[in-house]
């Protein structure tokens, strides 16, 4: 076999393995992205997509200036920030707790992880009942404790925090498992050495565990940001984007623009902007939170 024939065979083998997946990726991932960018430059309706008008960057100008769209971005980032600020400490502490030698540790881990594998639609429906202003379980509990009842999803101020709480409940298990695997990857020798040097439990946590978990933390932050930015089911099932746009998350807003308001060009423009923002945030997070040491 000549050198050229070997090279061809080598590349043919690579293509045979990678080709089908590359094809799927191109057809189902990158081609729709190109189509989305193209659609964002037109004004048309789904009912008759052939009847379209080229509008250039008009859809983008509108997306950047329309108060409803700006609010959609604000509440989506509010959800992401709120979720991450709560999920990091909660899941970290849970992981530390579960990392200890507990009886029935497996069962507790399963319980913590269970919401992660439950359908988002089921969770949203369940929390709608829990948070119902009239007959919700949460209000019944508050009444039983002698506390004032909440309006939750029907109140402009309480709606977003309610969704953040639901997301926290839903995603904590996943973040906990990630932190747990990070904790179990820390060499025991470092802990032992610190112990010999007289470090207290708090000092060991602060100066050994937390710094060495930075890679896991970056991963958790990036993943949780991505999950929060994709929030769709809570708006569709629980609130319809209200009250007063306070849960009109961008993913739902895009769906609403495309399929209900029959403005897929505008929806595409918002999608392009959102994709770029999410990409920028992920890159920034990875840069700011990158590990400065290794072990």
């Amino acid at each position: 076999m000549t050198r050229t024939a070997r090279k061809v065979a080598h590349w043919a083998t690579i293509l045979a393995f990678v080709g089908p997946f590359l094809g799927f990726l191109l057809v189902f991932q990158y081609w729709p992205l190109v189509q989305m960018v193209n659609d964002s430059l037109y004004d048309f309706s789904l009912l008759n997509p052939a009847r379209r008008t080229f509008v250039g960057i008009e859809n983008y100008t509108w997306a950047f200036t329309d108060p409803d769209r700006i609010q959609a971005f604000q509440v989506t980032f509010g959800l992401a920030i709120g979720t991450i600020c709560l999920i990091l400490p909660v899941s970290f502490l849970l992981a530390v707790y579960l990392n200890g030698k507990l009886p029935a540790r497996g069962i507790i881990r399963t319980i913590v992880f269970l919401p992660v594998i439950t359908s988002a639609v089921v969770i949203a429906t369940m929390w709608t009942f829990l948070l119902d202003a009239n007959n919700g379980l949460l209000n019944s509990a508050l009444t039983a404790l002698g506390l004032p009842r909440g309006l939750f999803l029907t109140d402009k101020v309480q709606a977003l925090p309610s969704v953040i709480m639901m997301t926290l409940w839903q995603q904590t298990g996943f973040a906990t498992v990630l932190f747990l695997s990070g904790l179990q990857g820390i060499p025991q020798e470092l802990e032992d050495a610190a112990h010999v040097d007289g470090a207290t439990a708090w000092q060991r946590l602060r100066f050994i565990t937390v710094p060495l978990l930075i890679r896991t933390t970056v991963f958790v932050v990036v993943i949780m940001t991505a999950f929060a930015l994709q929030a769709f089911a809570p708006a569709l099932i629980m609130t319809g984007g209200g009250p007063e746009g306070m849960t009109n998350f961008v993913a739902y807003d895009i769906y609403k623009l495309a399929f209900i308001l029959e403005a897929p060009g505008l929806a595409s423009a918002v999608s392009v902007i959102f994709t770029l923002i999410v990409l920028a945030i992920s890159l920034l997070q990875m840069r700011l939170l990158r590990a400065r040491w290794n072990y």
Partner: protein
């Protein structure tokens, strides 16, 4: 070439097979059986009996039915239209006629109308199903709203029997007084609400079909055309291109304030849905459609009930509009599909459907043949439909209007400032209505 041939042969065979499905000749149908595809919402017309009745007279046509939940119907039609795969016949929500007609997906139907049919259709239905002078559907059924009440609870609360005729209908302040007197419990401990929450849409308040009436009733269609009272009644400009100065008038704000106070000040109705609140005895009154009459007769709720015309402020008004049938302009069988639509919407099949379903027909000539519609309580719906009925604000962007205004009304029910929220809705509408 050798590789292309089998593929081409397979494609050819598949094409022939699909063609043959529609064209297979039988002794009864020498030209073959034509299959018409039909999309309809689940548990809604067209029902198998209607199709069977048509097929009994037209054995050479078969109907291939696809169903989706009502809430997904409009989305499904949009997606099918975008993909170019619309069925031959669409069962759709009547107020969307103008949207579909302006997008060119519906076939105009007047050429299939027999003489006199146009005059026989309820005026509100005719207006709803027309666009730029063309009629896109004869209409299948109508329904409208009235106020149902729990007679036992009213008696216990010392409230006199509500009126049974349109000319004596309650005003909203009178109705509010009755709601408040009948309600049991207060604050966070209400056991029986004065007025049941909406059961339309998602169960949240704001559904245009029901709740926009609270604004429109503060308008006046007989006022000068440039007055805010006139504009409030219609809620959108005649060309359907703007809501500025039509939806956010002082009268509309007054209506929206009244609507908001029901939830927040008077607190006679809850903010979130309670399934079957009226039937389960958790509410004294409910605003509902004529179908509920049949429902209450079929499943006895265990209390005496009655119906009174929908209360009003300045002008009595009820919304019209229901499911209807249309033919896809892109169908390969327009003639056959149109014949099916006409047969189901008119004549003996329509009469039989009205008799068995308890819906209100759109053809005036059918009313004398349906004695139940002249008797209490259905006569209230039938009269209201004829005398107070108006379509929801017609526009070729109705679906968008419906969503934006529903969201605004929901927020107002949740306590938003009526003027600010209506202005915001008008601003959102400006974008979609002008496109």
């Amino acid at each position: 070439m050798r590789r292309i041939l089998p593929v081409a042969a397979l494609a050819g065979m598949l094409s022939l097979a699909s063609h043959a499905e529609a064209q297979t000749a039988t002794a009864q149908c020498p030209n073959g059986v034509t299959t018409l595809s039909l999309l309809k919402p689940l548990n809604n017309p067209v029902f198998p009996e209607q199709i069977a009745a048509y097929r009994a007279l037209n054995p050479c046509v078969s109907i291939d039915v696809s169903e989706v939940p009502f809430g997904q119907l409009a989305d499904k039609i949009s997606v099918l239209a975008a993909a170019g795969t619309l069925p031959d016949i669409l069962v759709y929500d009547g107020p969307n006629t103008q949207s579909y007609a302006s997008a060119g997906i519906l076939e105009p139907m007047e050429r299939f109308f027999p003489p006199g049919l146009r005059e026989d259709i309820l005026p509100a239905t005719l207006a709803e199903h027309s666009f730029e002078g063309r009629i896109y559907s004869p209409g299948l059924q109508q329904t409208t709203l009235a106020l149902f009440y729990n007679a036992d609870m009213l008696r216990a609360a010392g409230i006199a029997e509500p009126p049974r005729t349109l000319d004596q209908a309650w005003t909203w302040p009178q109705a509010m007084e009755a709601f408040a007197r009948c309600q049991q419990g207060s604050g966070d401990n209400v056991t029986v609400w004065g007025l049941a929450p909406s059961r339309f849409g998602t169960g949240q308040p704001g559904f245009v079909y029901r709740d926009l009436l609270f604004l429109r009733t503060f308008g006046n269609p007989t006022a000068p055309q440039d007055s805010t009272a006139f504009r409030t009644f219609f809620g959108i400009s005649p060309d359907g291109r703007t809501a500025q100065g039509w939806l956010n008038t002082p009268e509309a704000v007054q209506g929206a304030t009244f609507f908001r106070d029901m939830f927040n000040t008077a607190r006679i109705t809850p903010r979130s849905g309670i399934p079957n609140a009226f039937q389960d005895g958790k509410a004294c009154f409910t605003i509902d459609v004529s179908f509920l009459v049949a429902g209450l007769r079929t499943r006895d709720p265990g209390f005496a009930w009655g119906v009174t015309p929908l209360p009003h402020a300045r002008t009595p008004i009820v919304h019209t509009g229901s499911l209807t049938l249309g033919v896809s302009a892109r169908s390969r069988h327009v003639e056959e599909a149109a014949r099916f639509v006409m047969a189901v919407s008119t004549g003996p099949i329509a009469l039989q459907y009205a008799r068995t379903s308890g819906t209100l027909p759109v053809l005036l000539s059918l009313y004398p043949q349906l004695p139940a519609l002249g008797e209490y309580p259905l006569n209230i719906f039938a009269q209201a439909l004829r005398e107070w009925g108006h379509p929801r604000p017609p526009s070729s962007r109705f679906a968008q209007y419906d969503k934006i205004v529903s969201d605004a009304l929901r927020d107002i029910a949740y306590g938003a400032d009526p003027k600010t929220r209506l202005d915001a809705a008008v601003r959102s509408l400006a974008l979609v209505l002008r496109r």
